[in-house]
């Protein structure tokens, strides 16, 4: 069983037992980079994601005496399609298993952004939604009821206008609360049609126990039902050969 720190190394994240790992996800053009800069200031490094010509930005910040490593994921609308950016974002969430994931959403067209929020919530429960561009939304007479949104999603929601720094301290506090376990989100689970739920349960039961510990079994069962070859081919590099062998055998999977 590979340890989380070994898997993190595969994403160019040096192990640091003192620091919590935080991922920053979001659609393109939501002000994600502004949030990244507002959180990390000048303490940033850039490089590439291993094996990809996709930019990786990492930064650190200290809050209430605790150290945080923030990783900026590529801006994507989804984690299911096949671009290099989406693969990077999805692999990081699944296998580096960040201690918290911030999903940045655009307050001026919130609905479009909720697709990604729900997809992230299907992978990890340690999610905090950051509704950004609140200043622009206000100018367009759009009002966002963040409390209601948090209730509906089952995860914390913070409103920000990162360009003016508004809400950034609250976001840091939210991340800290999430990582320290002072907030335990209960993401609303998407319930599919009975026949799909039935099949999901059956597939999930067939997933070996060691793999269930490594990542979200329900999510993996969905990808198997989907016959999502991109995800399944990608999983291999994060598993021990024996674990992969069992998975492959049980589901009669032929890698591409």
């Amino acid at each position: 069983m590979p340890q989380a720190t070994d898997l993190r190394k595969m994403f160019n994240i040096q192990p640091d037992p003192e620091a919590a790992l935080v991922a920053l996800a979001g659609n393109p053009n939501t002000g994600k980079s502004t949030i990244f800069n507002a959180l990390t200031g000048l303490r940033q490094h850039t490089g590439n994601w291993p094996g990809k010509t996709v930019l990786q930005a990492r930064g650190t910040f200290i809050f209430r005496g605790h150290k945080y490593i923030l990783v900026d994921l590529p801006g994507t609308y989804s984690l299911l399609a096949n671009s290099a950016e989406e693969i990077v974002a999805r692999n990081f969430l699944c296998f580096a298993r960040p201690d918290a994931t911030v999903v940045v959403a655009d307050a001026t067209c919130l609905e479009r952004n909720l697709n990604l929020v729900l997809q992230v919530m299907e992978i990890t429960s340690r999610v905090i939604v950051c509704v950004n561009l609140m200043d622009e939304a206000r100018r367009k007479n759009i009002f966002i009821d963040t409390e209601c949104l948090a209730r509906e999603l089952g995860v914390p929601v913070v409103a920000t206008a990162a360009r003016s720094g508004q809400g950034v301290a609250e976001l840091k506090a939210g991340i800290d609360d999430l990582v320290r376990g002072r907030i335990v989100p209960t993401p609303r689970r998407l319930v599919y049609d009975p026949e799909i739920e039935d099949a999901l349960t059956r597939v999930e039961q067939q997933i070996p126990g060691e793999i269930k510990e490594l990542f979200n079994a329900r999510w993996l069962a969905m990808r198997i039902l989907d016959n999502d070859r991109s995800t399944l081919d990608n999983i291999r590099q994060y598993l021990e050969p024996a674990e992969w062998g069992v998975l492959r055998e049980r589901f009669k999977y032929c890698p591409t």
Partner: protein, 78 residues
């Protein structure tokens, strides 16, 4: 009986409601990710010089689709 036509045939300026998607695989995911799920209202905003691509208003954003992609979305004009 509602009139059903491919999104690519929706006249410029007209609104339609998504009935279903004919696409499979990656294109289907792409279209769903853009917000084209059943019951979504969508407007054909303008057409490119040769009628392709076509710009649509989908859930508050303007998005250009190729005729080929839009043709796989079935809508009913509103």
């Amino acid at each position: 009986m509602e009139k059903i036509l491919p999104l690519s045939e929706l006249p410029t300026g007209q609104w339609g409601r998504v009935i279903s998607l004919n696409a499979r695989g990656m294109i289907r995911y792409r279209l769903l990710d853009l917000g084209l799920v059943p019951d979504t209202t969508v407007q054909a905003v303008r057409r490119g010089p040769l009628g392709d691509p076509i710009v649509y208003r989908i859930r508050g954003a303007l998005i250009a689709l190729r005729r080929e992609e839009a043709g796989q979305v079935l809508v009913t004009p509103l």
